[in-house]
Amino acid sequence: MKQLDFMKARGIAMALSLILVLGSIGSIATQGLNLGLDFTGGTLLEVQYDQPVALQGVTDVLEGAGYRDVTVQNFGSETDVLVRMSEAFRDDLGLEVLEVLRQQLPEDNQIRLERSEFVGSQVGEELRDEGGLALLMALAVVMIYVAVRFQFKFSVGAVAALFHDVVIVVGLFSLFQWEFDLNVLAALLAVIGYSLNDTIVVSDRIRENFRIVRRGGAIDVINESLNNTLGRTLMTSLTTALVLFALMIFGGEMIHGFAVALMIGVLVGTYSSIYVAANILLLMNISREDLMPPELEEEVDDRP
């Protein structure tokens, strides 16, 4: 197979990454995230109708009955309706809402309560903090691990790639105002795992090639390494994308957000392991000397 000159396009790639990351941060800063019930607190009810109903009608009836901040949306199918409101939960709220909704229905359209969720605002806040903390912790641990296992410059590259991926996924969720709930957070952490996997495989090859390939500069070595791992990178992304595709189509509404977030993450992660991590290495002037096994170290360690 002919060698592809990945690094030729690194200027364009860097510009693209910068635009995507800045755009994402801009979107998050200006319109924020459409946080799910897990993080905002409030009440959620999922009801199942026998026949489709007009969502506007449902909203009007509920607001007419005095509930505040009501959002109504279809969930998976036309007959499945999700109602969210900021109302604090009471024992009989579910039945109460069901009764209100039932009154506007014709005889032949029955309604059932499928699911009800209530999250206190305190808990929501904590989940938000915990989630953010978990993300930061994951990044920190990864950075340390890579620094120990590889070299400091690699760990900067790996973490930059992870940051890049996470920000872009969150940015897209912000841009399209998709609901960001606990499942999406889990997906985000899985993106870290996946993208890291990719980046490590590439870094591993770069390290190996720096040690065995004696000709050419850093750009050549990185190019060769990327070519070496290209087949594997594409194949793994393909298989992962295939299962996520299955999850998106067949997994149902409750994990749709999860599948979407992970799908974006896999695509961005594949790109970032080629361009972001390698670019950072070049920016930091990675050289053969950085990766030569430190032969004298043992002697130094043995001193009392």
Binding site: D91, E130, L133, I192, I200, M235
Partner: protein, 619 residues
């Protein structure tokens, strides 16, 4: 010889495969629909007569059942059809009355020989089985405020007994401020506290008028108290959950001050919350004076002797809410007694009432809420009505010897009586107030749907991956595919062995594992192709391919595992479920992708002269 595994290695792999298959097997047996019958009163026996009447009822109703079991006083009847479950429950409940709790259950059908190996199916999370999830928070602020107030009461008495004169004791935030006339008295008090109350950190502080001593509970003591409060509440909630007659409830502490309650199969949240959150189920009352007006008194039976009754005043001194602790112990003479602690409010009430009532008797009333089912004929149709009725019975009636405070004791009991009384007192009491901070209900049909969708996406995803691998890597792809299937079996086995709960995000984790598990094989195969291209012989290429890819795979998987562990540690709910399957998946996939495929490759290709390998690509 190159690419031959020694016999012991092959045997070891075979052994792992057999064990995995064994422990994954229970998940293949679909559970039977069943009804579970438990006596309403804890500790009661399931008699042969009762079992007979259940059998008779089911037969009369034309419901086929089999495999009845009795375990720890709980009877389980399996039914042939799921549709029979509800009618069976209704019929049995009606026949047995309110002495028994009848609940729906799914009985595992794991064969005995598997059970004897300790194998069992995975448990399903609420999102898959349907049910209610509550998160309750213990109100620590109020609990600690109560504790401090209790100490204030106690210190007053103790200082008086010790003849240490103080001006006043104030509660100031989370500490107590004691004021004394002179420094000498304060030092005396200080010494007393060092000896008797090591749980306090003491700071002296002088104001213009007084010599003050600030007492604050040590961090350690605060932690001990809070720990006790949560544990006590956990016990109480467990007892209350048992009253609900749910098949497999989960009551667990979460974090510092929260309790998770999961009730599979329960749909009526209002009822469940009423029982979980019910406040007073103990009442302390004085015995009525002889000749007291009938309007001011009520007569109640004794709990352990229905024929004995006592007449009590209607006024309630305090309720089980105020009981912060109760334990059975022995007094100086070795006689059994029960020590009871009340909170500040209850203690003050107790002092106020008992001061005037020395030598009268005080009763502890046990209040139970029980469902009562009645059957009415309405328009020729039978309608089942369940109402909650309250039953009160006396568990202790003892003479008041002296004015009682926030901690007192009940004596004159048998040892067994004492421990039972302590248990009842405790079971009725929440050490600290609690409120609901999270609540989720999943309908049973939604749960079923979630399972179907989850299984479907696993199957479709799996099929797509299998095809892709076969197309790209031919014979090697086939071996990777076998390894992938084994991987799923091992993952299921591992989850079943450690008793992990399968949730919807957990299924997503399995799906993701499937996608990523082939990564290791892709890495190896890509490496083998490369080696072939560099002109190595097929045998050498296999050897080198596995060796060189190993380091990469290890690095990549270890880092992902690290992330998964962080997920598990920092996450809650869905995040945790996902982290569990992901980390197990990483572990099992390392075995199947590296060791198992190598064994297969060795069996097929090892130890003979080869011209080419069926590994796809342009080689």
């Amino acid at each position: 010889m190159l690419n031959k595994y020694p016999l012991w290695k092959n045997l070891l792999i075979a052994l792992v495969l057999v064990i995995s298959a064994l422990y994954a097997a229970p998940n293949l047996y679909p559970p039977d629909p069943a009804i579970q019958v438990t006596p309403a009163r804890a500790g009661a026996e399931m008699s042969e007569a009762t079992l007979g009447s259940i059998r008779q009822t089911l037969t009369d109703a034309g419901l086929e059942f089999f495999g009845e079991e009795v375990n720890d006083g709980t009877a389980l009847f399996r039914l042939q059809r799921t549709a029979d479950q509800l009618p069976a429950k209704a019929a049995v409940q009606r026949a047995l009355g309110d002495e028994f709790v009848v609940a729906l259950n799914l009985a595992p059908t794991t064969p005995d020989w598997l059970l004897s190996l300790g194998a069992g199916p995975m448990t399903l999370g609420l999102d898959l089985s349907g049910g209610v999830h509550f998160l309750m928070e213990v109100d620590m602020d109020e609990y600690m405020a109560n504790k401090v107030a209790n100490y204030r009461q106690e210190l007053r008495t103790r200082l008086r007994q010790e003849d240490i004169r103080y001006r006043r004791i104030q509660v100031d935030g989370d500490y107590l401020r004691l004021s004394f006339e002179d420094a000498a008295t304060r030092d005396e008090a200080d010494n007393f506290f060092i000896r008797e109350y090591p749980e306090f950190a003491r700071v002296s502080e002088d104001s213009a008028e007084f010599f003050d001593l600030k007492l604050r509970m040590t961090e350690e003591q605060v932690k001990t108290y809070q720990d006790y409060a949560v544990k006590q509440n956990l016990t109480t909630i467990r007892n209350r959950v048992n009253e609900l007659g749910v098949a497999e409830p989960l009551v667990q502490r979460q974090g510092r001050n929260r309790i998770v309650v999961q009730l599979p199969g329960v749909q009526d949240t209002a009822e469940a919350k009423k029982i979980l959150g019910k406040a007073a189920n103990l009442e302390f009352r004085l015995e009525a004076k002889p000749g007291a007006s009938r309007f001011a008194t009520e007569e109640y039976p004794f709990r352990n002797d229905e024929f004995r009754t006592a007449r009590l005043e209607k006024i309630v001194i305090t309720t089980g809410d105020s009981v912060t602790n109760a334990r059975s112990a022995f007094d100086e003479n070795g006689m059994p007694q029960v020590n009871i602690d009340l909170d500040a409010k209850g203690g003050a009430r107790m002092t106020q009432v008992t001061r005037e009532a020395v030598q009268r008797r005080m009763a502890v009333l046990f209040v139970e809420r029980k469902p009562k089912t009645t059957y009415e004929m309405v328009d020729g149709e039978e309608v089942t009505k369940t109402v909650q009725i309250t039953e009160k019975s006396i568990i202790s009636l003892a003479t008041i010897q002296t004015t009682l405070g926030s901690s007192f004791r009940i004596t004159g009991l048998q040892a067994a009586e004492a421990s039972e009384l302590a248990l009842l007192l405790r079971s009725g009491a929440l050490a600290a107030p609690m409120y609901f901070v999270e609540e989720r209900t999943v309908g049973p049909s939604l749960g079923k749907e979630n399972i179907e969708m989850g299984v479907q996406s696993v199957l479709v995803g799996l099929a797509l991956v299998l095809v892709a691998m076969l197309v790209f890597y031919r014979a090697f792809g086939l071996m990777a595919n076998i390894a992938l299937l084994v991987n799923i079996v091992m993952l299921v086995a591992l989850m079943s062995i450690v008793g992990a709960t399968l949730t919807l995000p957990g299924i997503a984790g399995i799906v993701l594992t499937v996608g990523m598990a082939v990564d290791a094989n892709v890495l190896i195969f890509a490496r083998i192709r490369e080696e072939l291209k560099n002109g190595r012989s097929p045998q050498q290429a296999i050897h080198e391919g596995y060796n060189r890819a190993f380091v990469t795979i290890l690095d990549a998987n270890l880092t992902t595992l690290l992330v998964a562990v962080i997920l598990f540690a920092a996450g809650t709910g869905p995040v945790k479920g996902f982290a569990v399957t992901l980390s197990f998946g990483i572990l099992t996939s390392m075995f199947t992708a590296i060791v198992l495929t190598r064994a297969m490759v060795n069996l097929v290709y090892g130890g003979r002269r080869l011209e080419s390998l069926s590994i796809g690509g342009r080689v």
